[in-house]
Symmetry: C3
Subunit: 117 residues, 3 copies
Amino acid sequence: MRSCVSRSGAANGLCHVFLRHTSASLLVTENADSDVRRDLEHFMSRLVKDGDPAWSHSMEGPDDMPAHIRSVLTCSELTLPVRDGRLVLGTWQGVYLWEHRHRPHRRFVDVTVIGAH
Amino acid sequence: MRSCVSRSGAANGLCHVFLRHTSASLLVTENADSDVRRDLEHFMSRLVKDGDPAWSHSMEGPDDMPAHIRSVLTCSELTLPVRDGRLVLGTWQGVYLWEHRHRPHRRFVDVTVIGAH
Amino acid sequence: MRSCVSRSGAANGLCHVFLRHTSASLLVTENADSDVRRDLEHFMSRLVKDGDPAWSHSMEGPDDMPAHIRSVLTCSELTLPVRDGRLVLGTWQGVYLWEHRHRPHRRFVDVTVIGAH
């Protein structure tokens, strides 16, 4: 995102990121203590259980439907302000890609910068 | 959304959709297996129960407050990238209007396209 | 937001609000009956419990990690349409800042207006 903003030449405007997947999320959360991301993972795994017999959709395994639900409860796309050619984030904010499947996946995002040049 | 993008003449930019309601959502999820949407509905009906005695707000019936909560846990507005005059979506992504009330409602959205012409 | 839109001089476009914090949210919900916001608070306090022994991250007290989780389950940023120089909202929609910590905090937002002048 940072390199897209600087390459765009936009001084002020918006930077949009879109995740092309339905079993991962874009996450904005606390960036200082990695326990926060661990606790988030733990909360989600308790709220949306792998292998719940209620899921009809389980073609790709017990973590298939839970990944879709976790994606819907969080964000697939994100817009951040651009000021003076830089992304705006609060001091304690970090942007993360949150994988909801157990096996590693390659994930693609589309970044769009809009603003005054 | 597709017709708004093509009528706008924008080649690259963003397409924003805003839902004017607090008891329905805009949903981006898996588009191939309709069981996914059924399982999402089932998950939500278990998480946010109709007629829960905890709700003070029940003027319009037992599905009134749950619909507001489900709306807050999901999305009321959505931004998608536009490339070469077309909406960008991942292969397995679909956009849906998710009604949270039991009785059918007419729902209105505002679509805004921003970009280079 | 309203004053940013009118000062911007934009007639049509988008207004984006970004919250620089990870323990509060931007909320779009029913604006007529304040019981809705009370029920939302009640739902969240039941779903994400203060002082849950599962949380590793509790440096700032029993409401520290729950505030981060509630922030992730809701919105940190919000885009609204601008038409004829005014923000578009449905009749029953209101925009609120939702504080997830018990003690009062000062919260900062960045507002960006993009559109045709």
